[in-house]
């Protein structure tokens, strides 16, 4: 990180700026005046705040985040399966503040794109030259009949890590052996495409090792899914008779849930669960809608070189909320997009053109502890859309030897250690 002193971005900066404007107008424009506000301190926003201080230490960066600590979704499936403590998922913002970012704990509730001003729930107003929204996803409560916030306290989604993760874990622990766990997976797009299948794998591992008379039913609104052959091969080898998936074509789409009876309703059946995990449809976090950067799909169209909104100038959207072409909604992708966006902002704020981007993604999943698989991708813009580079990327080989799988599991651990350190300092 840069050794630049921390800037409060407040009165001191304005005094400095006023002096600079009088004495050195050129330097003032090029150096001291730019203010960037970042909303959302997950893998996208937190990475961006720090990366921007590296790309141009003269930019005043303010990060607005509702929570005092971040709880990571990657590796939260291990928490659900009892393999890891939730505490290991939590990261604070001291490292980001130490990089010279002004960190405000608060909730952004309003955006005025004309005045270039963000308003927080407590009335604080923050002016910006460029705004970055990295709000992640909201559960689209109401999109699946019967599933609302109250129902989520009975049939947790656990698709935002934290209390929901803990709730699902406790329900599994309290379940009597012989129970049926039901997971419903949504249609695309949603956060972490392989996530439901890793979750099914690790819950099946928990059942196999702790409650072997129990079963897991995965009701899927899709036919095809990420790393499908690897998951299906792993399930056949590891969890026969325990894990069953029903695809869309076979009637897997859940059309309604009933929290009172913990039931999942499909076109042909009603499945009553001992433990029910509803992974519902999702959309961009609310502030994206408030700011006008989400389109009718609920997600945010962006320019792939700068991640600037195609709908509202001066606002950039990164991470799960963005429509990033072939890039999946993953922590790795959010981190990679944040760095591209940070360098693009440094260019735009000095009237330069952002460089042509080349992005990568790597997603690891565990079939069982020490048994890892991955998918990778490389992306370049094509006709304004981030597109897979042909001949690159793809999944781990099918039927890889156990040593290869063990190596991928170790790399997954190392990746998590790296990405959290790079994001939160």
């Amino acid at each position: 990180m840069s050794g630049a002193p921390a800037s409060g971005g407040g009165v001191g900066r304005r005094v400095l700026l006023a002096g600079a404007l009088l004495a050195m107008p050129f330097v003032a424009r090029a150096q001291g005046s730019a203010r960037v506000v970042v909303v959302g301190g997950g893998f996208g926003g937190a990475t961006l705040a720090r990366a921007l201080r590296t790309a141009d230490p003269t930019i005043a960066v303010t990060l607005v985040e509702a929570n005092a600590t971040y709880t990571s979704c990657p590796y939260s499936n291990e928490v659900i399966a009892g393999l890891r403590d939730l505490a290991a998922q939590r990261f604070g913002y001291a490292g980001i503040a130490a990089a010279g970012v002004r960190v405000i704990q608060g909730t952004a509730t309003g955006v005025d794109p004309t005045a270039r001003r963000v308003t927080l729930a407590d009335g604080t107003a923050l002016e910006y030259d460029r705004l970055v929204l990295s709000p992640g996803v909201d559960m689209a409560f109401g999109a699946l009949p019967g599933y609302d916030e109250a129902a989520a306290e009975i049939m947790p989604h656990a698709w935002k890590a934290g209390a929901q993760t803990d709730l699902l874990r406790r329900q599994l622990e309290a379940m009597e052996d012989g129970g049926v766990v039901v997971i419903s997976a949504p249609a695309n797009p949603y956060r972490c495409p392989p996530g439901p299948y890793e979750r099914a794998s690790l819950i099946a591992y928990y059942l196999k090792t702790r409650k072997p008379k129990s079963k897991l039913l995965l009701l899927d609104a899709k036919d095809a899914f990420s790393k499908q052959k690897l998951f299906e091969g792993g399930w056949a080898a590891l969890y026969p008779g325990i894990l069953e998936r029903v695809s869309q074509s076979d009637g897997g789409t859940v059309t309604r849930v009933n929290a009172a009876t913990r039931s999942f309703v499909t076109d042909f059946d009603t499945h009553k669960a001992a433990v029910g995990n509803v992974i519902p449809p999702q959309r961009a976090g609310r502030i994206a809608v408030v700011a006008g950067v989400a389109d009718r799909t609920g997600w945010c169209p962006i320019d792939p070189a700068s991640f600037e909104s195609r709908l509202v100038p001066g606002i950039h959207v990164i991470g799960d909320a963005a429509i990033a072409g072939a890039m999946p909604k993953s922590a790795f992708a959010a981190n990679a997009q944040a760095k591209i966006c940070a360098w693009a902002l440094a260019r735009l704020l000095t009237d330069a053109t952002p460089a042509e981007p080349l992005l990568m993604n790597t997603c690891y999943s565990l079939l069982a502890p020490g048994d890892g698989i991955s998918v990778a991708g490389v992306y370049r813009p094509k006709n304004g859309v981030l597109t897979d580079v042909e001949g690159a990327g793809g999944t781990s080989p099918l039927n890889a030897p156990p040593e290869f799988r063990a190596q991928e599991a170790r790399e997954a651990d190392a990746w998590f250690q790296t990405i959290t350190a790079e994001t939160f300092g």
């Binding site: 360098w343 440094a346 460089a355 992005l359 690159a392 290869f404 790399e411 790296t418 350190a421």
Partner: protein
């Protein structure tokens, strides 16, 4: 101050370069790459790309780069701390 701007422009990451730290940031659990010799880094990346060196994810990722990308990325990473 102008020197700072100039240095920043010279250190502008070439396409693809900022992806590396997603797995190889300083002090990470994976192999450290920052500050290593550019020729050595480019040699490794090209070997992963061709398959001469076996790998898990690196080969799949490097196939998305051109030799010129690899040289530029290696040069940039070699001067990162």
């Amino acid at each position: 101050m102008r020197g700072v701007v100039l240095a920043a422009l010279l250190l502008l990451p070439p396409p693809g370069a900022t992806n590396c730290s997603g797995c190889h940031a300083a002090g990470s659990g994976n192999v450290a790459i920052n500050g290593r010799d550019a020729g050595e880094l480019a040699g490794l990346m090209n070997s992963y790309r061709s398959g001469a060196l076996a790998s898990t994810a690196m080969g799949r990722l490097m196939k998305g780069l051109l030799p010129a990308d690899i040289d530029a990325i290696a040069a940039w990473v070699s001067v990162q701390k």
